[in-house]
């Protein structure tokens, strides 16, 4: 069983939610133990194949627990985090 794999909540906004057809989902990471945020992209793409998500993710940033992430390689997901895909913003 993969019970020790961390599970995170992923939030999608704007074009990312259009591409995935959802605004939020629980995602179990692919292997046990903390994993770098940068490994999440390929997992999300495998969950939403052919949805145009790859194109969207190329322009997106990430946040973890409502903090913008500068370097996705340096952030480890331990489980329980709220991760958000942040497309280019268009407020105003």
């Amino acid at each position: 069983m993969s019970d020790s794999s961390p599970e995170v909540t992923v939030l999608y906004f704007a074009g990312a939610s259009t591409a995935t057809g959802t605004s939020s989902e629980r995602v179990r990471l692919s292997s046990p133990g903390p994993q770098p945020l940068s490994s999440l992209s390929s997992l999300l793409l495998s969950l939403h194949p052919g949805a145009g998500l790859e194109h969207v993710l190329r322009t997106c940033q990430w946040s973890v627990d409502a903090e913008m992430v500068e370097d996705p390689d340096s952030v480890l997901l331990k489980g329980g985090e709220e991760v958000a895909v942040i497309p280019p913003v268009s407020g105003g």
């Binding site: 906004f13 259009t18 057809g21 605004s23 409502a66 958000a84 942040i86 497309p87 407020g91 105003g92």
Partner: protein, 167 residues
Amino acid sequence: MSLPIPSSASVDARHETDHGVAVLTHCPLDTQAIIDSVADDGAGATAVFIGTTRNTFQGKIVTKLEYQAYSKLAIKTMSSILNRTSFHLHLQDVRGGGFTRMAIHHRLGTVPVGQPSIVIAVSAPHRKEAFEACEWALEQVKKEAQIWKREYYDGEKEEDAEWKANA
């Protein structure tokens, strides 16, 4: 299935800092009430920016706009902008050096054409810092705040409505 996917993270939010208030709301923006909220007897100037939804984009007729935010993060960003605007004025060495109070209100959800989507009001001792603070804060909100706009066009299917990017 033409409706946008609702996000439970796009909710009303409000945060006060020493420099003013940041608000995200689904309610129509009351410009006069926002201006009144920054009133101060020590302020000789109030600058106000009102951003309204435009009815055309590249020849297409815009029927409505939809705003979505990651409110938890966007309200932090807007509060940070309130505080950094003060620092920005000092860096620019704007005469007087500071503003008195600022309010940044951004609308969420469906905004009919012609209605305000953003109102920023700044009071300051003098006009120069009021204008400078208002413009700089607006530019930072457009650049940084985790808010997204979707435009719906006349004669096009709702699912084809486009999510915009400011960059």
